[in-house]
Every structure is written in structure tokens, then in C-alpha cells.
């Protein structure tokens, strides 16, 4: 119950809201908004001192972003 934890939860909630009700409703906007809850979760993990999980989480989130970016690129190339 400290600042990090509260801040993490708040950012997580903001992020979830921003992804769920994204404006403008484009793929890119949603993709960028997806990073916000990720950082909130990172703060929550930090509050529980789960450093290794943070490390992996950041890397895997970046990879996940790349996967979607790649899909969007294929989509742009084909449409």
C-alpha cells in the first residue's frame, strides 16, 4: 500500500479505459493506448518487487507490439 502501488492501479485503470473506449477508433491509436495499462501493470509489479517479471514483461510487450505491427504492415501492403 504505497505510492507505487496506487499509481500503478490508477494508470492501469486509465489505460484499460483508454483502450476500451479509444478515440479515434483506429488500430494505431489502440495499439499505442495498449502500452498505457502495460506501464501501470509494471508499476504494480514494482510495488511487489517482482523485478524479473518486469524485465520479461517489458520485453514481451514490445514483441507483442511488433507482432501486431507486422500484421498491420501486411494489411497495408495488401489493401
Amino acid at each position: 500500500m504505497n505510492t507505487t502501488f496506487i499509481l500503478g492501479l490508477v494508470i492501469l485503470a486509465i489505460g484499460v479505459l483508454s483502450v476500451a473506449f479509444v478515440r479515434p477508433k483506429t488500430y494505431v491509436a489502440r495499439l499505442i493506448n495498449l502500452e498505457i495499462p502495460a506501464w501501470g501493470l509494471l508499476l504494480v509489479m514494482l510495488a511487489y518487487d517482482e523485478a524479473l517479471a518486469i524485465l520479461t514483461f517489458v520485453a514481451v510487450t514490445a514483441i507483442g507490439t511488433f507482432v501486431i505491427v507486422r500484421l498491420l504492415e501486411w494489411r497495408d501492403a495488401s489493401c
Binding site: 511487489y48 518487487d49 523485478a51 524479473l52 524485465l55
Partner: protein, 150 residues
């Protein structure tokens, strides 16, 4: 009868499947919120002990290298060498631990340490399953990708 027909028309279209499942999950989430507060059990497996002064912070779990360490496992009798990996440091991580203070995460991620203990020894099957999931997912993706290439 009409309402039944309408429900079955909704259910039969698989495009509505996700919405249906999401609706069920929302209900469960509401039940979850209503059932709060749930008490946190203090006697957990593998509890954390933090020692900011240690160079392995936050993963210093004490114990003797190449000896026994107290690890709260579910079935310690099934892992006779429980705690051996927890204290083990490779030469590199030993060097890091001796000379720096803020690299605890790196040291523990290097082979040895409590997380490796859990992931590879006491709960190794989790890791097997999880790597199989990764393997399967990649098999699907690469099969589809390469089929397109031909």
C-alpha cells in the same frame, strides 16, 4: 417460443460467440466485485523476504551455497535438492554480487536463484507445458507462413 427462436438465432452465429463469452465474463467480474473483500492468506508458498542491503536484492533468500536453504515448497519431500539452486551463483554472478550492489535481478536471472528453482525444479512441469504452448503456437504460425510462401 419467439424469444427462444431469437436466442437460438443469436447463439448459432459464431460471430456472436466472443460477445457471449465476454458477457459471461462481465457477469463473473461483477460477482467478483460483489464478493470483495477477499482476505489475503498470509501463509503463502515461496514468500518473499526483502533485504535491501544485500547485493542480491530483492532476491536474497539466504542459505548456504551448495547447502540447504529454507524454501517453503508445497511438497519438499518430492524435490530432495530443494534450495540448492536458490543459493547457487555462477562465477559471473558471484563476481557481480561481490562488486556491485544494484544488479540483483541480473544475478538471479542468470542460472541459479529462487526463480530458477521454482521454474525448473519444484514447478518444472509448468515450464514444460508453457514452452510447449510457445512451440505449438510457433508451429502454427510458421506452418501458415511457409505455406503461403510456396
Amino acid at each position: 417460443m419467439l424469444i427462444i427462436t431469437r436466442i437460438s438465432r443469436f447463439v448459432s452465429n459464431f460471430q456472436n460467440l466472443v460477445a457471449l463469452f465476454a458477457g459471461a465474463c462481465i457477469i463473473i467480474s461483477l460477482i467478483g466485485i460483489l464478493s470483495l473483500p477477499l482476505a489475503f492468506e498470509e501463509h503463502q508458498l515461496y514468500p518473499k523476504t526483502l533485504d535491501p542491503a544485500s547485493s542480491l536484492y530483492p532476491y536474497d533468500r539466504g542459505g548456504v551455497p551448495f547447502g540447504t536453504t529454507e524454501v517453503v515448497a508445497q511438497y519438499p519431500e518430492n524435490s530432495p535438492y530443494v534450495g540448492y539452486v536458490t543459493t547457487y551463483l555462477t562465477p559471473l554472478s558471484q563476481y557481480l554480487a561481490d562488486h556491485t550492489h544494484y544488479l540483483g535481478t541480473t544475478i538471479v536471472a542468470h542460472p541459479g536463484g529462487i526463480i530458477d528453482e521454482i521454474l525448473y525444479n519444484t514447478r518444472g512441469l509448468d515450464t514444460v507445458v508453457e514452452t510447449s504452448i510457445l512451440f505449438t503456437a510457433f508451429a502454427i504460425a510458421s506452418y501458415l507462413y511457409r505455406r503461403e510462401e510456396e
